[in-house]
C-alpha cells in the first residue's frame, strides 16, 4: 500500500496538506482528551506520543514510534498514518502467529488510536476493518482453545487476552456495518479501499458522531448509547443510572472521567436530598479514584471540586437530620427507591464521610509533597489549607452531633495535625476565618468558640478529647503533638514533664514509622525549646539523639538521604518518599545543627580543658560529631576565615579553648541563622553570657596549674562578669572537686593547690589502678567458676545418688 501511495500521491499532496492542516486543529483538540483518557490504560505509548508531539508539533504531526526508523522523507500526514497503520497490522499478524497476546493488545491499541485520530484524513481504512474482523475470529478461536487447554497461558498473556476480548467486542460493535460489508466481500482490491476513504466523507462524519463518548467534547452532553439513542438523565431514572455506574466502578475498561461527568450531570438533576446524597456518595469516591497511581497527586481543580462536594454533602446532612451516613448500615436491596421516612426516625445510608475527609487531606499533603516548594504554586496550594481545615472542622461538628465517636477522634486528630506545628497567630487567624465561614449555630462541644480564641486551650481541648476517647495510636500521636506545641511556645518544663510521664520514649521503637517521625520532631522541638530558654545541657541531651546520628534529614522526614553504599530497594524508597513532610512543616535543619553544635561547644570545651592531659578523662566524649569536626578542623594546615555555620562554631570553639571569649562571642554572634529564632537578641545575650561563664571555667581548668593564686577581681574584669558570679562559679567548682583550690576571703583571691603530677607519679597511680582492676577481674572469674562448679557438683551428686540406687 505504501508503495502505491508513494508513487501515485504526488498530485494529491496539495489537497492532502490542506486537509491535514485543517485536521491539525481538530486532532490537537482530540489530543487533549485522548491524553487524559488514555493515561490510565496505556501510560507508555501516550507519554511517548505526547513527548514527540511537543517537539515535532507541526512538522510531523501525530506520527507514531514506528516510523522513527524510516528515512526522512516528505510525506503527507495521511500517508504516514496509513504507513503506521499497515505496520501495526503487520505486527498484529506476526504476533498472532506466535500467540503473543500482549503484543497484539499493544498494537491493537495503537491501531485504534491512529484510526480514531485520523478520521478525517483517511476515514476508516479497509485494512483496519479487515484486521478487526480477522482478530475477532482469531480471538474466538483462541478463547476456544484456552477453554480446552487450561493453564496453558501465563497470567500476563491471559490478562491481555481478556482485555482484548472486551476491546474487540466494543470495536466490533462500532463498526458492525463495515465488518458485515467486508465479510460479504473480503477480496476487495486496495484501490477500492482508497475510494472508500476519500469518496465517502459523509458516512465518516456520521461515524464520528457515533464514536464513543471518549472523544466527544463536553458541550451538549448528548450522550449516545448503544443503539445510537440519546440518553437522558432525569431524576426518575437516576437510581438506575447510578447503579450502572457503581457496578462499572473498578472494572478495567471503565472510563473514569466519563463516569465523573455522568455523576456530575446526575447531581444536577437530583431532585430530592436523598438523591443528592446518594449521587454525592458515588461522585466523591469516583473523583478520588480517578488517579490510580499512588505516587501522583490529584489534580488541583478536581481536588477543589471534591472539597466543595464534601462540603455540600455536609450541608445536606446538616439540613436533613433524618439521614445518617455511617458504615454499619446493611446493604439494602431496594436502594433504588426513595425511602419513606417517618418523622422522628432516622434513615441510615451506607458510606463514610470520615474516609472522604481523610482522603482529601492525604491528597492535599501529597500535592504539597510533589509541588516544588520554592514556586508560587506551592504558596497558592497552601492557601487551600484554610478551606480544607474548615471542612475538617465541619466534619468534626457533624460527627459530634451524631455521636460517631470513632470518626470524631479520627477527624479531631486530623485537625490537630493541621494545628500543632503552627505559631499562635496563625492558628488564631485560621480559626477566625473558619468560624466566620460557618453558618451560625454550628458549634462544636469539644471546641466551643470560647476555647478557640486561645490556641493553647484549643490544642489542649483537642488532645484531651483524644486522650479520653481515642485509641492508643491516636493517643500517642495526640500526646506528641501536644508536647510539640508546648515546646514551640517555650514551655519547656511542661513539655518535658509530659514527655517523661507518658513514658513514650520506652516503646516508641515499636510504633509505626510515621509516629516515630513525629516523635523525632517532638524531641528536636523540645531540644530547641531548651536552647531558647538557655538550658544548654538539657538542649544538648535532647538534640543528641537525633543530631548525633548524622541522619537528621531521614529521621525528620525532611528529604531523602543519599546513601553511598547501601542501595535501598525501590519500594522502600517510594515509601520513604511518601512519608516526606511538606516543606512548610519542616524544621530548619541548619538552625538545628547550629543549636546543637553550639550546645556541644559550651559543654565539650570546658570538659576537654578539665580532662587536660589525663588520657582516661579525654576519652569521655559528650558529642561525637562535634569532636570529629573539631579534630578535622584542627588537622587542617591552613584554615581560612569562616564561611558557613560550622566554620563559625569551630572557630568559636577554638577561641573558647584558648580563653579568648570575646572572639568566641563575635564568631557565634556572626552566625546569620540565629535570625530565624524568635527574639534573636535575647538568645544572643544568653549565649554571650554562657560563653563568658564557660570561658572562665575553661580558663581555670587550663591555666590553674601555672598559678598559685588568682585574684577574683582580676578574673571578674577578665571575663567581665560580676564579682559574685565569679565567686559562685569558683565555689561551685571547688565544691564539686573539679578544681583543687580554695578561696581566701581576706585577700579575695583563689588559692590553687593543684599539683601537676610527675610522670612517675602518674604512672604509679595508673599502675595501682590497673592492679586493682586486675584483682577485681580475678574475683569475678572466681565467682563465676564457683557458681558453675556448684552446679556441676550438684549434678555430680545427683548422678552419684542415681548410681547408688
Amino acid at each position: 500500500m505504501s508503495r502505491f501511495f508513494r508513487g501515485g500521491s504526488d498530485s494529491e499532496t496539495d489537497d492532502d496538506e490542506i486537509i491535514s492542516s485543517n485536521e491539525e486543529e481538530m486532532s490537537d483538540d482530540d489530543h487533549i482528551s485522548d491524553e487524559s483518557t488514555d493515561d490510565e490504560t496505556t501510560p507508555k505509548p501516550t507519554t511517548g506520543a505526547a513527548a514527540k508531539s511537543r517537539f515535532l508539533k507541526d512538522a510531523v504531526s501525530d506520527s507514531e514510534e514506528s516510523d522513527i526508523d524510516e528515512k526522512v522523507e516528505v510525506k503527507s500526514a495521511k500517508d504516514k498514518k496509513l504507513d503506521a497503520l499497515e505496520l501495526s497490522v503487520k505486527t498484529i499478524e506476526n504476533a498472532k502467529k506466535i500467540n503473543d497476546w500482549v503484543a497484539i493488545q499493544n498494537e491493537f491499541e495503537k491501531l485504534n488510536k491512529i484510526v480514531s485520530k485520523s478520521f478525517g484524513t483517511i476515514g476508516i481504512p479497509r485494512i483496519y476493518i479487515k484486521t478487526i474482523a480477522s482478530l475477532e475470529d482469531f480471538l474466538n478461536e483462541a478463547l476456544q482453545k484456552e477453554k480446552e487447554a487450561k493453564k496453558k497461558m501465563n497470567s500476563t498473556q491471559a490478562k491481555a487476552l481478556n482485555s482484548m476480548k472486551n476491546k474487540t467486542k466494543k470495536i466490533v460493535r462500532q463498526f458492525e456495518d463495515e465488518i458485515e460489508k467486508w465479510r460479504q466481500n473480503p477480496v476487495d482490491t486496495e484501490e477500492e479501499i482508497e475510494d472508500d476513504g476519500i469518496e465517502k466523507p459523509l458516512p465518516i462524519k456520521k461515524d464520528k458522531l457515533s464514536y464513543p463518548a471518549e472523544d466527544l467534547d463536553d458541550e451538549g452532553f448528548e450522550q449516545v448509547g448503544k443503539g445510537n439513542k440519546l440518553i437522558e438523565y432525569t431524576s426518575d431514572n437516576l437510581f438506575k443510572k447510578l447503579r450502572e455506574i457503581l457496578e462499572a466502578r473498578g472494572k478495567k475498561n471503565t472510563d473514569r472521567l466519563e463516569q465523573i461527568k455522568i455523576l456530575q450531570k446526575l447531581l444536577g438533576v437530583a431532585a430530592t436530598s436523598y438523591q443528592q446524597i446518594r449521587v454525592l456518595l458515588a461522585l466523591i469516591p469516583a473523583q478520588f479514584d480517578y488517579n490510580p497511581s499512588m505516587s501522583n497527586y490529584m489534580n488541583v481543580d478536581m481536588w477543589k471540586s471534591t472539597q466543595k462536594e464534601i462540603n455540600q454533602l455536609l450541608t445536606i446532612m446538616d439540613t436533613n437530620p433524618n439521614f445518617i451516613i455511617h458504615d454499619h448500615v446493611e446493604e439494602e436491596e431496594e436502594e433504588d427507591k426513595e425511602p419513606v421516612i417517618e418523622p422522628g426516625q432516622t434513615f441510615g445510608i451506607r458510606g463514610s464521610i470520615v474516609s472522604f475527609i481523610d482522603r482529601l487531606d492525604d491528597e492535599f499533603t501529597k500535592s504539597l509533597q510533589n509541588i516544588d516548594p520554592h514556586t508560587t504554586d506551592y504558596v497558592d496550594r497552601l492557601k487551600d489549607e484554610t478551606e480544607l481545615y474548615a471542612t475538617i472542622v465541619r466534619g468534626q461538628i457533624y460527627f459530634e452531633k451524631n455521636d460517631l465517636n470513632e470518626s470524631t477522634s479520627r477527624v479531631v486528630m486530623r485537625r490537630l495535625e493541621h494545628l500543632y506545628y503552627k505559631p499562635d497567630q496563625v492558628i488564631q487567624t485560621v480559626e477566625n476565618t473558619v468560624a466566620q465561614s460557618f453558618p451560625s449555630g454550628l458549634t462544636s462541644s469539644i471546641t466551643p468558640p470560647t476555647i478557640t480564641q486561645d490556641s493553647s486551650d484549643l490544642i489542649h481541648a483537642l488532645c484531651v478529647y483524644l486522650y479520653k476517647k481515642g485509641e492508643s495510636l491516636l493517643r500517642t500521636r495526640a500526646m506528641l503533638c501536644h508536647i510539640y506545641h508546648h515546646a514551640l511556645h517555650n514551655r519547656f518544663y511542661i513539655a518535658r514533664d509530659m514527655l517523661l510521664m507518658s513514658h513514650l520514649q520506652d516503646n516508641i521503637q515499636l510504633s509505626d514509622v510515621g509516629t516515630q517521625i513525629l516523635h523525632n520532631r517532638t524531641m528536636v522541638q523540645v531540644g530547641l525549646c531548651a536552647f531558647r530558654e538557655g538550658m544548654i545541657k538539657e538542649a544538648q541531651s535532647c538534640l543528641q539523639e537525633i543530631c548525633g546520628t548524622g541522619r537528621v534529614k531521614e529521621l525528620l522526614a525532611q528529604g531523602l538521604q543519599l546513601q553511598k553504599y547501601s542501595q535501598l530497594p525501590p519500594e522502600q524508597e517510594k515509601l520513604d518518599r511518601q512519608r516526606q513532610l511538606p516543606f512548610h512543616m519542616h524544621i530548619n535543619l541548619e538552625l538545628l545543627e547550629c543549636a546543637y553544635l553550639t550546645c556541644s561547644m559550651l559543654l565539650e570545651i570546658p570538659a576537654m580543658a578539665a580532662a587536660g592531659s589525663n588520657p582516661e578523662a579525654r576519652k569521655k566524649v559528650i558529642s561525637k560529631p562535634f569532636r570529629r569536626m573539631l579534630d578535622y578542623n584542627e588537622r587542617q594546615v591552613f584554615s581560612g576565615p569562616p564561611e558557613n555555620t560550622r566554620d563559625h562554631i569551630m572557630g568559636a570553639a577554638k577561641a573558647l579553648a584558648a580563653g579568648e571569649w570575646q572572639k568566641c562571642q563575635e564568631l557565634i554572634g556572626a552566625i546569620k541563622i540565629w535570625n530565624l529564632m524568635p527574639e534573636t537578641q535575647k538568645i544572643k545575650e544568653m549565649l554571650n553570657r554562657k560563653i563568658q561563664e564557660e570561658g572562665l571555667r575553661t580558663y581555670l581548668f587550663t591555666y590553674s596549674s601555672f598559678y598559685t593564686t588568682l585574684g577574683l577581681e582580676q578574673l571578674s574584669t577578665m571575663f567581665s562578669l560580676p564579682l559574685n558570679t565569679v565567686t559562685s562559679i569558683v565555689s561551685k567548682m571547688i565544691w564539686s572537686e573539679e578544681l583543687a583550690a580554695s578561696l581566701d576571703q581576706i585577700n579575695n583571691v583563689v588559692v590553687l593547690h593543684r599539683v601537676e603530677h610527675t610522670k612517675v607519679q602518674q604512672l604509679a597511680l595508673m599502675f595501682a589502678e590497673k592492679a586493682a582492676a586486675f584483682v577485681e577481674a580475678n574475683e569475678r572469674t572466681m565467682e563465676q567458676k564457683q557458681a558453675v562448679g556448684q552446679n556441676q557438683r550438684d549434678q555430680q551428686r545427683q548422678k552419684g545418688i542415681c548410681a547408688f540406687t
Binding site: Y493, M501, N724, T727, S728, S731, K732, I734, W735, A740, S742, L743, D744, Q745, I746, N747, V751, H753, H757, Q761, A764, L765, A768, E769, A771, A772, V775, N778, E779, M782, Q786, G789, R793, Q796, G800, A803, F804
Partner: protein
C-alpha cells in the same frame, strides 16, 4: 507574707475533715487569716460530721446568737439514737471477743479464727461489719480513742480486704487525732506496705493513695521522736519521691526541713539538692530556696537572707513550728561547713554576719564548730581570721590507699581456690569409690 507561704489550702484536699481541724485551729492561733473566715471554714468543715454540740457552738459564735436552728437538735437526737443502736450491736461482738476462753483459742490464722467464732459463738460477717460501722461513727463523733479500738478489733476479725484498708486509714486518723504517736507510726508502716503491695487497677489510683498517705504521714513524722528518720527513709524511696514530684511538690518543704534537721543524713543532701533544682519551676519557698542558694549558687549572703525568711515561714507552719530552733541551728551548721570547705582564710566577722550572729557569738560558734566536727582549722586572733588547713592527700597516700586492700583480697582468692581444689579432689575420690 505568712499567708503567701501557707500551705494549708494545698494540704486540705488531701486530708480528712477531722485532720484538717487541728490545722485550722493552728491558723486561728497565729492569726494569719481573718478570724471570722476561719470560723466559717471550721463550720463548713464539721457541718457534715456528727459533732453536733461543737457545731452548734460554732454556729452561735459565727452568727452571734443564742438561737440554734431546729435541725441541730433533731440531728443530735438522731446521732444519739444511732450511737446507742450501734453500741448495743457492737457490744455483742465485743462480749464474744473479750471472753478469756476465746482469747486463748485464737490463733494466727484469721480465716481459721473467724470460722471458729462462727461455729462456736454464732458470729456473723454482718456483726463483724458492725464493728467497722461503729468505729466509723465514733470517729465521726470525735471519739477517736473508741474508734481506734473498734477498728483494731475489726481488723483482727474481718477478712474483707477493701474494708480492712479503709479501717487502716481510719485507725491511722484516729491515732493521729488521739496523739497516740507510737501506734500511729506503726499504722503508717502497715499502710505503706498495703499501698505498695496492692495491685491497683490504674496507676492513677495508686498515685492518689500515695499522695494521701504522704499527707497523712507528715502528722506522724513530725510528732514522733523517730519520725524524722522515717520520713527520710520513706519519702526518698523512688515511688514516693516520684509521687511528690508529680502530685504534691509542696511536700518538699517538709522533706527539706527533715533533711536539714537531721544530722546524720549528709549523703541524702545531694539527692535533695537535685530534686529541689528539678522542681524549682513548680514549687519554691524560702526553705527550698535556702538550700538552692547554698548548694547550687553558693551564694552565702542569699542563703542568710533566706534563712531569716525560713524562720518566719517555719513559725507559721503547723507541722514545722516545733523544729524551728533545730532548723536554724542546723542551717547555720550547713552554711559554715560549706563555707569552710571552700575557703582558706575566713574573716570571723564576715562569717558571723553570714550566720546571723554577732561577733562574740560568732567566735564561740566557730570554736564549737571546730571542736565538734574536728575541722582542721585555727583561729588567728590577731587578724581575726580562721585559717583552714588544707589536707589534700599526697600522691603517695593515694597510691597506698588504692593498693591497700589488694594483697588481702588476693589472699582470700588464693585460699578459696585451695579450698576448692581440696574439695574437688575429695569429691573425685568419693566418685571413684562409688
Amino acid at each position: 507574707m505568712a499567708a503567701n507561704y501557707d500551705l494549708t489550702p494545698k494540704l486540705i484536699p488531701y486530708l480528712d475533715r477531722h485532720l484538717v481541724f487541728p490545722l485550722l485551729e493552728f491558723l486561728s492561733m497565729h492569726k494569719i487569716y481573718p478570724e471570722i473566715d476561719l470560723l466559717k471554714a471550721k463550720y463548713e468543715l464539721l457541718a457534715k460530721t456528727n459533732m453536733v454540740d461543737f457545731i452548734s457552738m460554732l454556729y452561735k459564735t459565727i452568727h452571734d446568737t443564742d438561737e440554734v436552728p431546729e435541725e441541730f437538735s433533731t440531728k443530735r437526737d438522731e446521732v444519739l439514737q444511732t450511737l446507742e443502736n450501734l453500741q448495743a450491736e457492737a457490744q455483742k461482738v465485743l462480749d464474744i471477743i473479750e471472753n478469756p476462753e476465746v482469747i486463748a483459742a485464737l490463733r494466727q490464722d484469721k480465716l481459721q479464727n473467724l470460722n471458729f467464732l462462727k461455729e462456736k459463738y454464732g458470729l456473723t460477717d454482718k456483726m463483724v461489719n458492725t464493728l467497722y460501722q461503729f468505729g466509723q461513727f465514733q470517729y465521726n463523733c470525735g471519739n477517736y480513742g473508741g474508734a481506734s479500738d473498734m477498728l483494731y478489733h475489726f481488723r483482727v476479725l474481718s477478712t474483707d480486704h477493701e474494708l480492712n484498708v479503709s479501717a487502716l486509714w481510719g485507725k491511722l486518723a484516729s491515732d493521729i487525732l488521739d496523739s497516740n504517736w507510737d501506734a500511729a507510726l506503726e499504722e503508717v508502716q502497715k499502710l505503706k506496705e498495703t499501698i505498695d503491695q496492692k495491685n491497683f487497677t490504674s496507676p492513677l489510683h495508686q498515685l492518689q493513695q500515695r499522695t494521701w498517705f504522704i499527707h497523712w504521714s507528715i502528722f506522724v513524722f513530725f510528732n514522733h521522736p523517730k519520725g524524722r528518720d522515717s520520713i527520710i527513709d520513706v519519702f526518698f524511696t523512688a515511688q514516693y519521691i516520684n509521687t511528690i514530684q508529680t502530685a504534691c511538690p509542696w511536700i518538699l518543704r517538709y522533706l527539706t526541713t527533715a533533711v536539714v534537721t537531721n544530722k546524720r543524713r549528709k549523703s541524702i543532701l545531694k539527692d535533695l539538692v537535685k530534686i529541689i533544682q528539678q522542681e524549682s519551676y513548680e514549687y519554691r519557698d524560702p526553705i527550698t530556696e535556702f538550700i538552692e542558694s547554698l548548694y547550687v549558687k553558693f551564694d552565702f549572703e542569699g542563703a542568710q537572707h533566706k534563712l531569716k525568711e525560713c524562720e518566719k515561714v517555719l513559725s507559721n507552719d503547723f507541722f514545722l513550728v516545733a523544729t524551728l530552733p533545730e532548723f536554724v541551728e542546723n542551717a547555720r551548721y550547713l552554711i559554715s561547713e560549706t563555707y569552710c570547705r571552700i575557703h582558706l582564710k575566713i574573716d570571723i566577722s564576715g562569717l558571723s554576719q553570714t550566720l546571723n550572729l554577732d561577733q562574740e557569738a560568732g567566735e564561740k560558734w566557730i570554736v564549737n564548730l571546730i571542736r565538734d566536727t574536728r575541722v582542721d582549722a585555727k583561729i588567728d586572733f590577731k587578724e581575726n581570721t580562721v585559717i583552714m588547713n588544707q589536707n589534700h592527700t599526697s600522691i603517695y597516700q593515694q597510691v597506698i590507699e588504692r593498693t591497700k586492700g589488694l594483697s588481702f583480697r588476693s589472699q582470700v582468692l588464693a585460699s578459696t581456690i585451695e579450698k576448692r581444689e581440696a574439695h574437688q579432689s575429695a569429691s573425685a575420690a568419693e566418685a571413684a569409690e562409688s
